[in-house]
């Protein structure tokens, strides 16, 4: 599970630099954006009780917001679509400082949300993006996005089918079969997780880890089933959870055709997939009960590689060095994963020694580093 949309990264910047940066960005033009460009950032003045953008209408395309926190509490800025899904977010803007958020906003209605104190519903203001965003800078990006949407749909359906089998095994009280089906049911999901996360509400329902549970929150999704099967050793009581998982995955499949997918979000998502690996999977935290982390890691790598493959024609033209580096580092990583695979699939992560985990971690880092430059390279 990953709770933060990637765009925050681009927005993280020392407040003191923002003014200077904007001047510089003005000089360079927003040539790195894939859509239309604004002359500068839209200032959003945030206090403890108000959230006031300098304008309520922006030109569609890549839009930069600068949250100036004039309040007394740490603030956050979100841009939301009408369905409440998150376009982008900027967290942790301290009192007296400012933080920048850069998002792709096709023409339409949006909500700006400030969250003084970083909790609760925050303060919402409507904002509209108008005009047609200029076409993507490279004509090859359009087909890549279309192909990726197809991939996402296929993988979402893969997980849905897997979850249905898992549900049936749970309903039949067949513990051994349910345990055998658990990891493989997640493969499709893990390949496309960043897209699923963009829907905001689905990810916590489907993939929340016990460690990320807030008090009072109802725990649902795969990891509830994982704990039941692998820790408690029973299918008892899991059927309603499995039913709900199937429903939520049906929801995901239904929403994929309308998912906001761009070359930028694809590239950011690929980097996010490997960040996920580095953050919770190398440590074995993700699959705390089943220890099927290697299956997840392989699926994450598959998902990242799919993006790189689809963007390769553009990348090769724009940054051949980066293309080579990505290819070889992903191949290295795959080689290490293949080394762990047996005829029975991947072994339990508990059998992977500390030295082997370190080797794997270094290979993940080696691929993550060039992946972090993919967005700028394809969007430039």
């Amino acid at each position: 599970v990953h709770t933060h949309a990637r765009p925050t990264r681009a927005g993280v910047r020392a407040g003191v630099l923002v003014g200077v940066l904007l001047g510089a960005a003005g000089l360079a033009g927003c040539s790195s954006s894939s859509g239309g460009s604004q002359a500068g950032a839209i200032t959003v003045t945030g206090t403890d009780t108000a959230c006031t953008p300098q304008t309520s209408q922006v030109a569609a395309g890549t839009v930069a917001f600068r949250l100036e926190n004039q309040g007394s509490r740490v603030n956050e800025l979100y841009v939301l679509r009408p369905d409440g899904s998150i376009v982008g977010e900027r967290e942790n803007v301290g009192p007296g400082t400012s933080g920048e958020l850069r998002v792709d906003m096709p023409a339409g209605s949006y909500t700006l949300q400030c969250k003084p104190g970083m909790t609760g519903d925050g303060i919402r203001t409507a904002i509209t993006a108008t005009g047609a965003a200029t076409a993507a800078s490279d004509p090859r990006l359009g087909p890549a996005v279309t192909a990726y949407r197809g991939y996402v749909l296929t993988e979402a359906k893969r997980s849905l089918a897997g979850a249905q089998q898992l549900r049936d095994a749970v309903a039949a009280g067949n513990l051994a079969e349910a345990k055998a089906l658990y990891a493989s049911s997640r493969v499709g999901w893990e390949r496309i997780e960043p897209v699923a996360e963009s829907f905001g509400d689905l990810d916590p329902r489907i993939d929340l880890r016990e460690a990320d549970l807030e008090s009072g929150q109802t725990w649902t999704g795969w990891h509830v089933i994982e704990k039941g099967l692998f820790r408690s050793g029973t299918t008892k009581g899991l059927k309603p959870v499995a039913d709900r998982l199937v429903t939520d995955l049906q929801d995901l499949v239904r929403r994929v055709p309308t998912a906001e997918i761009s070359a930028t979000s694809m590239a950011n998502g690929a980097a996010e997939l490997l960040d996920e690996v580095a953050k919770t999977k190398i440590t074995g935290e993700e699959e705390a009960f089943s220890h099927t982390d290697l299956v997840d890691i392989q699926a994450n790598v598959d998902g990242a590689r799919q993006v790189v493959t689809l963007l390769r024609p553009v990348l090769t033209a724009k940054s051949p060095d980066l293309a080579t580096q990505l290819e070889s580092s992903l191949a290295d990583l795959q080689k290490i994963l293949d080394g762990h695979r047996t005829s029975a699939g991947f072994p339990s992560y508990t059998s992977i020694t500390q030295d082997q985990r370190r080797t794997l971690s270094e290979a993940v880092d080696a691929a993550s580093d060039p992946l972090s430059r993919l967005t700028a390279a394809v969007a430039s």
Binding site: R9, A10, R13, A14, V16, L17, V20, L21, G23, A24, A25, L27, A28, S32, S33, A64, E100, R102, T264, Q325, S329, E362, D365, A366, S368, D369, P370, S372, R373, T375, A376, A377, A379, S380
Partner: protein
Amino acid sequence: VSGPATGTSRRAALGLLGSAVAAGAAGVTWAVRTGDAEAAATPGTAVPFHGDHQAGIATAVQDRLHMAAFDLRVAGGSSGRAAVVRMLRQWTGAAARMTQGLETVDGGAAPTILDAPPEDTGEALALPPSRLTLTLGLGPGFFAKTGLDDSRPSALVDLPRFKGDDIDPARSGGDLVVQACADDPQVAVHAIRNLARMATGTAAVRWSQLGFGRTSSTTPTEQTPRNLFGFKDGTNNIAGDDEATLNQHVWVGAGDDPGWMTGGSYLVARRIAMRIESWDRVSLREQEDVTGRHKISGAPVGATAEHDPVQVSALPPTAHVAIAHPDANGGVRILRRGYSYVDGSDGFGHLDAGLFFIAFCRDPRTQYVPLQTRLARSDAMTEYLTHTASGLYAVPPGVRPGQYWAQSLLEA
């Protein structure tokens, strides 16, 4: 000390950024250290990166240390070597800039492209150069993994196991080591962090150590610092401006083998856990007899002033100074440059504290190894010490403008 470099400082870079971005990279002229060793430097200023010898050895000891060792991830042979050369070129460029108070690359922390992560991580922005020095060493594995075993100096031995050693391999060795010393720990950490980041894919951090409160001085005119036993340490250390002694005991000479090491040195790193709780229960007389010096004045036991000559025969025979003194070791001297550390607690109700011992010498086979063999066997202080990590590294000679670290080895 030579004059400050004329590059834009991080502090100035902030104010100038707008114009600097417009004007492109500001021209950077490098100050070069001459063969002369350095006297005490003013805190906060820049130490020249380029010179005959690497900075951070004869340089007046800064207050803080961050040292990190790296394992190369490359396949052996020439393709691996090419990747290492690429990394060392990048490291050298960034190191030369960071030591002058600049970002790793021009505009690195504040790029105009917002879709990519900044090249410089930014936490040293607006901080003065803080006398940052970055010193590179090569471990035995470096030569194997770059197909250069034939060029491995015979002096770069695998250190023997000394009596009482309890060495943790995970905290020892490494194919490369970088010693970052600065008056501000944030500047030292920023440097190591950014070098580690640049190395991604080619080398990965093996171990890392923070140190504080320099325990040795290379500037005898200044007050001698104290170690965690509370004693002055390094009273008779080699002075950074004593060129004759440096040439005799620290720098690899032109006639020494191999030629590419001329002007270099060997770095010994030893993490020495100090049982400070036990030490603190020992009487002052015992502490002084174990050390061989008076605690307050630093004078040899029986003498009155710190710099009074040490007469080995007048000291308790197993006192630390009696065993370590050049007179007891055929005149052998080493340049010490260690730092104290406290790495949390030991899980038994004690601080995990000690000395991160760093020394430089011309040939460890005739200097550090026999010296430590004697200390481990006879030094009364050993009762309070355990060596828990170890490393020996060949320190290539200094870098000239336009060159990169270890170029004399890699392009021999």
